[in-house]
Every structure is written in C-alpha cells, then in structure tokens.
C-alpha cells in the first residue's frame, strides 16, 4: 500500500476535486438559466399553450396500395371518405354538440349518440367517430358551421373501393376495419383503431405490402379544438401496388357465364402456372364489407345455402366423375395393363362378381381402345382397366397427379380433396374395401373428391408435357415509384407419373373428345375458332333420402355436377381450364360450353 501513497499525493487529488466542483457548478448554472428562460421569460406563452393542450398530433392515414390485374386494369382503388368525429374535451358538452350536429345535418341524434358511446376511449382528446363516410352535403354543412360545433372535426381518409364490386371477389378479397383482437396482435404494430386491413384473399395475403405508413401533423388548436396552425407535417406513405396474374377481362367474361349458376372455374396458363381467372359462383359484395354490414345483411350472406363466401375453386370438394379417367388412363398405361392398341369390348355393361356395372351409353361402345374410350368416355373400358390396376396403385397415381393434397396456391384454406384407399376406408368408415368400389373409383365416382384448382393444375400438366406447377396469383408487387419488390413465381411441385407416349395418348383422347363427331364434347366444346382438347365429366351426387323424397321442386338438387377440363390450342396450349357447375347435369351440357367460351375469350383477345 505504501508505494501508492507516494505516487499520488492528496493535494493533487484535492486540486482536481476543486476543478471538478467548479465544472459541476457551471453545468447547474446553465440548467438554471434554461429553467429561468422556460418558466419565467417564456412562461406566459407556455401557460397559454398548455391551457387547452393546444399542441396536438393528428394522424394521416396512408392510401392503401392498389390492386391491378395482369394488364394493369385497376380492380381495387381508394376513394376519399369523410368521417365526422367529436373530441370530447373540446366539445365541453358532448350531448349539446351532438344535438346541434343532428339538427344541422339531419342525421338522427340516436345514431350519433350510439356511435359516440361505442367508439369513445379513455383519452378525452382522442377524436371519436360519430358518423362515418358522410356525403359531401353533410361535409359542406359541417364545414360552414365549423364555429358553432365545438369539438367537431372532419377526418379525411382513403377508403377502399372495389371498382367492379363482387367481381373476382374471392381472389382479390376485401379490406375492412381492424378488429380489436387484430389491433392487439404484434403482427399489426403501427395500426390505428380505425385502420383498414386486408381480411380475405389477396388483400389479406399481401397486407404487409398494401398497408402504407401513417403520417401525422403537429397542429396548434384553439379553445374549441379548431386547428389554427399546422406546425409540422409528415406525409403518409402510400402502400405498394399489387399486380395479380388474373386477366380481368377474362375473369369478367367467365363470371358472366356463371350467371345464375353455382360452381367454379379456374383458368391457368400451363406454361407459367399463372392463374388467369378464378370464378366462384355465386359471389358477394366486397364494398359491403368495407362499409360495414347490418346484422341482417350479414345473416343473409352466411345463411345462403349456396355459400357465397366460400371460394369454391379451392375450398369445394366435388366427386370428379369422368374427368378422372385421365388419371385412370395414365395409371393403366404406366402400369402396363394396357397399351395404345389394347381394346376392350363394351356391350353397355360390365359384370363384376354378381353385380352389373353399367356404361353411361346403354347400347355400348363396341370394341374401344384407350383413345376412343377417353373420347367417348366409355365406362366399361375403364372398369376393366381399373380392376387390373387395383385401388392402391390407382391411389398412388392419383397422388402423383396432384390429387389428395393442396396445390399450394397462396390463398388460405385450400382443401385437400380425397384419394381413397383400403386403409383410409378401414379407418374412416370401418369396413374393408370392396372390389367393386375400385371400378367406381376408376370412373371417378365413389369416394374420390377433388377441388377445381387441383383439376386445373392436372389439366395444365397434361397440356405442358407433364409438369405439375404450383398455381400463382401474384404477378408482382411494386412501390408507388415503380420499384419492384417481389415477383410471383411458380415452382414445379412434381411430374406426372406418365411416359411421354402415355401423355400423347391421353392428349389424343382429349383432342378426339372435342374434335371427333363421336366425342362427348363435340357439340358443346368444339370450336370453329380454335383447336380445343378436353374431357367431360358427370359426377353423380348421392342425395339423402329426404331430398329425393321431395316433391320435385328441388329436383335440381340431385342432378349430377357437370365437369369439363380442357386446354387450347391443342398443339401449343396457352390456357388450361377446369369448370364445374353444381347440379349442371351432364358434363357436355353445362360445363363444356362455359369452358369453351372461356378459352375462346382468352385466345381471341391475344392471350
């Protein structure tokens, strides 16, 4: 210890401590001087500013990014909306102000009062919404009587507006006012109580891109809360624009074709996996969601037996009917149970054990090869092929064709469909698989279920040479300045379990179905304008006894679903479609003409 006492003596320290004390005094003198300046010199000014909490922040809502189709047609726009708000502290007497607003604008007092009670928060300086989206006449009245209405402020903010209400509703989705639960979740940080957020479809999917950034204003207000000066402004930042892959012209045409019908259609570019159109009928009004629905409107929408809110293209599971014969044909050729020349004789029925399975054509097709069996949709041919393949192998091929699992489209809540096997039946139904059921599966009846998007992806794969592509709905996202942030890209999710030769045979069969006079779609899908290939399907619907006991007024309920899948032009396909019309009857009667018109509309317009 003694050494250190010698190195530094206490006087040295004392000297330095005196210097430190002087520095401390100096700093305190500066602090006191500043305090004197604020409280004594400027005290009056600050006292005045404090009396009404005069310096306030007003938020500026950002315009939501727009949504366009692949060609730049705007689908979701914004329009200015004027909300009448009341700041309780400025109003002093809120009831009286509400009464004045009511007598001035004619809006019922009870309604204003109800909104005021519902929306008010614990902060008496926060504007409370009393009438949302008022018209220009109300706005003008409120503005001109500004000084009689203490505490009333008009908030301008962009409100979502769907230019073609109800069109492409399931893919574009809608935005609505943020819920309390959403507001509290960390995913929605920076949102304000009345922010619009995407609730469904692309609006929800691309929410982080579409939502811009709030700006704000520092303002000075007078005693009745009116802005006397804007001190500083930070502009809101607009959200980013989303371009979808859909062709809106085609979409509208396709939706028009579904007028009065229930069902779904999906059109895909088989080369890129881009979804060109996606119809789910019936649709719903998106603007109703933005503006807020009454309880009655909401009730009607949810209770509608045709289920308008469901996206049938990805969420509805249907038995595939004869379009499934594409899968059976691929399986039969790849397993080697048939080749191009194998012919089966169709007398109009097929005996299996002690049961008789009928062909849809009572008179039979005679001796048919696989190409003609596809073209004419001969059931007997596929009964025999299916019997030889067996249910387990058939299920393996169905999965290889993308069935029984989601396609991976970005939209939420996609359904899996169902590929039945012996094990599935044991687990779910509790009985063993029956040999006869394999025959039904082979022609797309029995337990098999598919979604329209799965069939569209499968058809696109047949068209493009065998690659299953994950369907995409996003073309690109760009900033308002035009900088591209993200591009949608399809990835291959698998390859059809078919040799190039087998695929050629399937395509030949699909070509003949449309272009051969004996083909099932000759009358309904043959086009003089272009070369279409396709496959019809008629899916039997198992009706419950009560439904079939009905007196006939609900006959349509037990009519089969009508299917058509196809692509065009046959030699170098640029569009593949899958169409299902619920209870539309035969595939050729309802679905095929719609599919043909969709393909014609797309290719004739240069798609």
């Amino acid at each position: 210890m003694e050494d250190y006492y010698r190195t530094i003596d206490f006087d040295w320290f004392k000297h330095r401590l005196v210097v430190v004390s002087v520095c401390v005094f100096a700093v305190f003198v500066i602090i006191v001087a500043r305090l004197f300046f604020l409280q004594v010199v400027r005290g009056e000014k600050y006292r005045r500013l404090s009396q009404n909490n005069c310096i306030r922040l007003q938020s500026i809502a950002p315009p939501r990014g727009l949504i366009f189709d692949r060609n730049g047609v705007c689908i979701a726009d914004n329009r200015p909306s004027f909300d009448l708000c009341l700041i309780p502290k400025d109003a002093k007497n809120a009831d009286q102000t509400i009464l004045k607003v009511s007598s001035l604008t004619g809006i019922p007092r009870e309604k204003l009062k109800r909104n005021f009670v519902k929306n008010r928060t614990s902060n008496p300086y926060a504007p409370v919404l009393i009438a949302g989206d008022v018209g220009r006449d109300v706005l003008a009245l409120a503005e001109s009587h500004n000084f009689d209405l203490p505490g009333v402020v008009i908030k301008v903010r962009p409100r979502r507006y769907y230019l073609f209400d109800g069109k492409a509703a399931h893919i574009v989705g809608y935005a609505g006012i943020i819920s309390r639960a959403e507001l509290q979740s960390p995913a929605y940080r920076g949102y304000e109580p009345e922010s619009y957020v995407g609730k469904y479809g692309a609006e929800k999917l691309y929410e982080p891109f579409l939502q811009g950034k709030y700006g704000g204003r520092q303002v000075e207000v007078n005693a009745s809360g009116k802005v006397v000066r804007v001190l500083k402004t930070v502009e809101a930042e607009s959200g980013n624009h989303v371009y979808l892959t859909i062709d809106f012209g085609l979409q509208q045409r396709a939706e028009a074709l579904f007028k009065g019908l229930s069902g779904a259609a999906v059109a895909i570019d088989p080369r890129s996996g881009e979804v060109l159109a996606m119809v789910s009928s019936p649709s719903f009004s998106q603007n109703a969601f933005v503006n807020g629905m009454s309880a009655g409107q909401w009730h009607d929408l949810v209770k509608d037996p045709r289920n308008p809110l469901e996206n049938k293209a990805i969420q509805a599971e249907y038995p595939p009917g004869s379009v499934y014969k594409i899968v059976t044909a691929i399986a039969a050729m790849d397993e080697g149970v048939i080749d191009r020349d194998t012919a089966f004789f169709c007398p109009g029925y097929y005996k299996y054990g002690n049961r008789v399975f009928r062909c849809w054509r009572a008179g039979g097709h005679g001796s048919v090869s696989v190409v003609d069996a596809l073209a004419q949709s001969c059931d007997v041919f596929f009964y025999q092929a299916g019997q030889k393949i067996g249910v387990e192998r058939l299920a393996w091929y169905a999965r290889g064709c993308g069935l029984g699992k989601p396609t991976g489209i970005a939209l939420p809540s996609e359904d899996d469909g169902l590929v039945p096997t012996n094990r599935w039946k044991l687990e779910r139904i509790g009985t063993k698989w029956q040999g006869g059921e394999t025959l039904s599966v082979a022609i797309g009846q029995s337990y098999t279920l598919v979604t329209p998007i799965q069939m569209a992806v499968l058809t696109a794969a047949v068209a493009n040479g065998g690659v299953l592509k994950r369907p995409v709905i996003l073309k690109l996202i760009e900033t308002p300045e035009g900088v591209i942030l993200k591009r949608g890209k399809s990835v291959g999710t698998g390859v059809l379990p078919a040799s190039p030769e087998a695929l050629d045979i399937v395509r030949e069969g699909m070509w003949k179905a449309v272009n051969d006079r004996k083909g099932t779609a000759w009358y309904s899908a043959h086009s003089r304008k272009m070369d279409i290939s396709g496959k019809t399907g008629t899916a039997q619907v198992v009706a419950s006894p009560r439904e079939s006991d009905d007196d006939g007024s609900r006959k349509d309920v037990i009519r089969p679903h009508s299917w058509f899948v196809g692509y065009a032009p046959s030699d170098a396909p640029r569009i593949a479609v899958a169409v299902v019309v619920e209870h539309g009857g035969h595939g050729s009667s309802a679905a095929a003409p719609i599919a043909r018109k969709i393909m014609e509309a797309y290719l004739e317009n240069g798609g």
Binding site: Y4, Y5, T7, I8, D9, F10, W12, F13, K14, R16, L17, V20, S21, V24, F25, V27, F28, I30, I31, V32, R34, L35, F36, L38, Q39, V40, R42, G43, E44, K45, Y46, R47, L49, S50, Q51, N53, I55, L57, K89, N123, P124, Y125, G215, G216, Q218, L231, K232, T233, V234
Partner: protein, 368 residues
Amino acid sequence: MGDVWQKKKLDWGLLLPVVALGVIGVTVLYSAAASEPVYLQRMLCIKQATWILIGLAIACTSPFFNYKKLEGWAVAIYAVSIALLVCVLLWGKSAGGARRWLSLGPVAMQPSELAKIAVVLILARYYNKHADMEGLGIKKIIVPILLTAVPFLLVVKQPDLGTALMIALVAASVTVFMKIEKRALYTLACMSAILAAAGWFFFLKGYQKERILTFLNPERDPLGAGYHIIQSKIAIGSGMIFGKGFMQGTQNALSFLPEQYTDFVFSVMAEEWGFVGSIVVLVLYLLIIIWGLSIGYQCRDNFGIIMSVGITSIVFWHVAVNVGMVMGLLPVVGVPLPLISYGGSSVITFMIGIALLLNISMRRSGVE
C-alpha cells in the same frame, strides 16, 4: 480493523437531501399517475416508497461494512454484472422492443443499473494500482477502455442507449479525473474520429443513420421525439414561477407527456411546482453532488477518493442529462432522474451509491 464508524456520526448532510428527494419523488409520482385508475396510482406510489425505504435501510446499515474490502471484490462484482448482462440478452424479458429485465421470482431487475456501480469499482481499483501524477499514457488507458466497452456494448445491444451512455460518461469522468497525458488525449481523439467516420460511411444502414440524426435533433421526428420535447417544454414553461399546484398539471393528465413516471417526471414536477420548486430540487441534487465530492476531498485513501468521484459522477450525469433532455437542451435519451423517477432498479442503484459514499465519509480518516 477498528470501529471507526462508531466514533463518527451518520453523515446527515448527505442523507437529508436524499430523504427529501425520495419524499418529493413519491409526491410527484402520485400526481404524474393521476390519470391512471386509483388503485394503480396508489400501487405505483407504495412500490416506489418501498424501494426508497429499502434503499435507505441499505444506506444506514452500510457502515457495518468496510468499503475497502470492495477493492478486493471489484473483479468479482464486475464479472457478475457482465454475466448478468449476458443473461439479459439470452433470457431477458423483452418489453417495447428491448430486452432489459431479468425476472427474479416476483421482481424484475435491470442488470444494466448494477453495471454502472461495477464499472466505477473496477476502474477505481485499476487506477489505484496504475495511475500516477503524470497522467495516463496510451498503454495504461487501453485496459479501462476495454473494461468499459464490454458492459457498454452489452447494454447497447439490449438496446438501452441511455444507460449505455451513462456507463460511458461515468467511466470517462473517472478517467479524466485521473488525468490523461496530452499525447494520449490527442491519439484517442483522432482514433474516435476515424472510427466514427468509418462507422458512418461503411457500417451504418440508412435507417440507423436516421435514428442517430433524430437522436441528435428531435425536430426531425415531429410525431415522436420532437413532439415529446415540445410537450415537455410546454409543461415546464407553463409552471411559471410558482407552479400550478399539486395535482393541477394539465400536460401530464392526459398522457400528453410520454414516460411521465420515469424519464419525464421532472416536467410533471416543474409544471406543478414552478421555478421555485424546480430550484429546490436542483439545489438538493447539487448538495448531494458537492457533498459527495467533499467526501473525496477529506478522504485519505486513493481508492476511496476515486470511488467517491465515480459515484458522484453517476448522480451528476443522470441529473444533467435527464434535466437537459426534458428542457430541450440535449438529445432525447432515456435516463432516469435519481430517486424521483419511478423504478426499483434505479432507486436501489442510487441508494447503493449513497451507501458507499456514507461509508467512505465515515472512514475518511483512513485509519485501519
């Protein structure tokens, strides 16, 4: 070891201003929390009062312990506080985007507060061994820089810029007090300028630069820090000479002031008690600081002198930066006002500091 402390009385000159500030703190907190529900308002005050009483108990019993032992323990204390800072980063409770708290059963503590004292102790030990009247050369200054940089960076990572800044300022104060050789001073200045420039141009991303610029100039962020400073200035200024009176403040009432219990508590006080009240509070702080320095002045032990300077500088920098910030003189940085801002870790840390000063004061004769 003699019973020196028994012969000396408790240092009331230091303790009285501390008690006064504690009482003022709870009173102002009651007012600042007026917009909260009554139970919450009471709970905040009771908690704060409890922390102050616990702190006073620590301060009053400290003389039973000889501060000189701390010189031997400094390394261990430093190591523990670094370990705690690492724990915070790994398992800390996060709140508002930062990880600052460690849960210890029912209470949460902020190890970054403890780190301030640990840095003072380790530096006092180091300088006691290595410093001389010539000043510190560049070789001798590297170790203290490293000893400071480790906790500094760990706290920056949380991120808690205010506390990190305090650690740096306190370490710098102690070092400057020990005198730095001219050459070393110039070298350090050049090196930090080069580092800062390189960081600015090569390492910092756009948004990080924006954050620093906003920090230096709150006006750049009129919806955030800039708005808070304006509100704070209005609150302070509107207090005028005699203040609006207890519970009469309007700026604090409606959450117009951010962090009104912690970083902006001075504004609430100044609004209600005016220039007169603010001067009283500032004089109390000045008393503590000058008293702390005078304890060093009378101390006959180098370690004790350096330590008393370090601890006093903790109090000084918190007061200067906090009050400077709420009055719009300094950048907006979250630093508590000693003994008045709400918060257990902060109160206990200052009280430990006071306890050490008391201890040094009572053994100032240096008699072992």
